[in-house]
């Protein structure tokens, strides 16, 4: 076993995150290839790019139109300039309605603004109703993939959790029983919740309609059964008209699941009327939180993202480390671009653009043709300009000079193996597999977030020379 990260427990087999992610990415790649044969993929990508580019370029005008149409259909519209404003609006809406219980359908935007924490602080019980999100929430964990929030967990962990929650015994192999248990618990939640909160995949300015795309049916229930429906969207999710929306409604499931359609697509236009049994109220919360400021910059195309999750599965770095390693709501290549783009000066996110090998796989799979690899380079350059790390740069330059000459390389490699090796190997011996979780000073900074191999006692080039005689 190798390639471990983030200090997994020593005695455990390969962590679920890597195993699951590789399986998930494999499934995705196979289905995607089949589905894309259904259409002229390159032409479709170009059309999707055109639809999203039009939307972002004309954002203020389209948001105005959307707002007008939503109000005309009887819905209310709220503007939130920041994440804090958005959570305050939603918490107030819940409070004003005396809501004790909320059915929450998976929304990355809600994750972005920290909605669950805000509701909890306000004493409102918000239960995640997506299967993966429910598991993650009950564990006190965070989602690790845009579409598959619990992809980092094993069935055994889920069975243990559900056994604990219910007092029954669950067999990790009996996935159907696990799902049936959660269905039962969540069914009560749908039937009793005062408020349903969902995200929005596409908002159609033409008619003020909100398109909600899903596999499980929990979004449809959250938007149908509670008396109040609150929909939260980043302003960039708007599109001009139904022609564009229809194209994206097909592109999204093709890119994310390799299927021509999602299991369930709901189109909500205002609250219930004309004898419909749906919610009495619809509130649309429009979140800016840095989006307007990205327009007109060289990162504008990141706003074209439709959150399909394809670049995550395609990314060799994401597949290895999983979403949590990014430490942000949006992970993978799009997260590494979008997060620093939305929070331009945050030192915590400045490192994200380096979580990439710049192989360009993300750009190749993106259904709306965001040049993610170019944007990663742009962000690296910007971060470097802000904080040049002169000491580090000088060190690397000296290293490069040393290792450009065979003599320099041999001398240092031998020294590392002889002088440093014993110390290092002592640390690695404790783990028994040649990996160490804590390298000796001054290299311990490197192992604070990853494991490392100890240097070989005899450098490769020496062994090679002996081997060749």
């Amino acid at each position: 076993m190798s390639h471990r990260v983030l200090h997994p427990p020593r005695a455990e087999p390969a962590p679920a995150v890597t195993v699951n992610l590789h399986r998930a990415a494999g499934n995705w790649a196979a289905k995607r290839a089949g589905a894309q044969a259904l259409v002229d993929w390159e032409e479709w990508r170009e059309e999707a790019r055109r639809v999203r580019a039009d939307a972002v370029r004309h954002l203020p005008e389209l948001i105005e139109r959307l707002e007008e149409r939503v109000r005309a259909a009887g819905g209310e519209v709220h503007h939130a300039a920041t994440a804090e404003e958005a959570t305050a609006i939603i918490v107030d809406l819940c409070r004003e309605r005396g809501a004790r219980s909320v059915a929450k359908a998976k929304s990355m935007t809600a994750e972005e603004i920290g909605l669950n924490e805000a509701l909890e602080q306000a004493g409102v019980e918000a239960v995640e109703t997506d299967m993966g999100e429910y598991i993650v929430q009950q564990l006190g964990d965070r989602p690790s993939h845009i579409l598959a929030p619990a992809v980092h967990l094993s069935a055994a962990q889920v069975a243990e959790l559900f056994s604990e929650l219910s007092g029954q015994d669950f067999d990790p192999e009996d996935t159907a029983a696990l799902v049936a248990y959660a269905r039962g618990v969540l069914r009560k939640q749908f039937l009793t919740a005062d408020v349903g909160i969902t995200g929005v995949n596409i908002a159609v300015a033409q008619t003020g309609s909100l398109v909600l795309v899903e596999s499980e049916g929990n979004i449809r229930l959250s938007a149908s059964l509670p008396r109040t429906h609150i929909a939260l969207m980043g302003i960039e999710k708007v599109v001009r008209d139904w022609a564009g929306a229809a194209h994206l409604m097909q592109m999204l499931p093709l890119a994310s699941h390799g299927r021509p359609a999602a299991a369930s697509t709901s189109v909500v236009t205002g609250p219930a009327r004309d004898g419909d049994d749906g919610p009495d109220e619809l509130h649309l919360v429009l979140l800016d939180a840095g989006r307007s400021a990205v327009r007109g910059t060289d990162l504008e195309e990141a706003l074209h993202c439709i959150r399909c999750g394809a670049c995550l599965y395609a990314c060799p770095v994401y597949r290895q480390v999983g979403g949590h390693a990014y430490g942000t709501s949006y992970s993978g290549p799009i997260g590494a671009v979008l997060t620093p783009a939305l929070e331009r000066s945050s030192p915590e996110t400045a490192q994200l653009p380096w979580m990439s090998s710049l192989c360009g796989a993300c750009t190749e799979v993106c259904p709306v043709k965001i040049p993610l690899d170019e944007q990663l380079v742009t962000l690296r350059a910007a971060a470097q300009a802000r904080d040049p790390h002169r000491g580090e740069a000088a060190l690397f330059e000296a290293w490069a000079r040393l290792w450009s000459r065979p003599a320099g390389y041999r001398a240092t490699a031998r020294t590392a193996g002889k002088a440093l090796g014993p110390l290092w190997r002592k640390a690695a011996r404790a783990s028994g597999d040649g990996w160490t979780a804590r390298a000796p000073f001054p290299f311990d900074g490197w192992t604070s977030t990853r494991d490392a191999r100890s240097p070989a006692g005899e450098p490769f080039h020496e062994r090679w020379r002996k081997h060749r005689g």
Binding site: A72, M131, A155, V179, E216, S224, A263, S264, V267
Partner: protein, 168 residues
Amino acid sequence: MGERSLDLVDEWRARWEELDGRAHRIESLEEAQALAREMIGTATVARWEDARLGGIAQAQAQAPEAEVSLLVADVAVADTGQVGWAHGAGRPRGAGVLPSRQVILLSQDAVVASLADALARLGATATSPPSSLVLIAGPSRTADIEQRVIRGVHAPREIDVLVYRGTG
């Protein structure tokens, strides 16, 4: 999407079945009603108010308790395999989503080529669209636990679409 065959119903059906839905082609509305009656048997049913659905169910129940959801779809999409409908008076949302089995009647004339055609037919593109439209593509599903696909999470697990000849 791809080559256009002569029969939209066949095209829709192929996609729908790939998505784990079940479909049955029937010569007339009466025969479709008879087949629905046979499929449902004594199971409890939540259904829409629609003359075409009369006399099918032996036992009715409120949507949260019902075993079967019975409704008439407005449209099906050959390109994507979707089946769609609008909610409204006598067409409650709960009855279409809560029971774990679903039986849907669909006129073959309601099958259209593209999603754009379907959205127009459902009224999405009208000045004032219906408050709620749904398009489904097979049973609800999750792969959230170790990528194992389980059908039937919060919405129906088994769906039979009875496609009958005529507009009736």
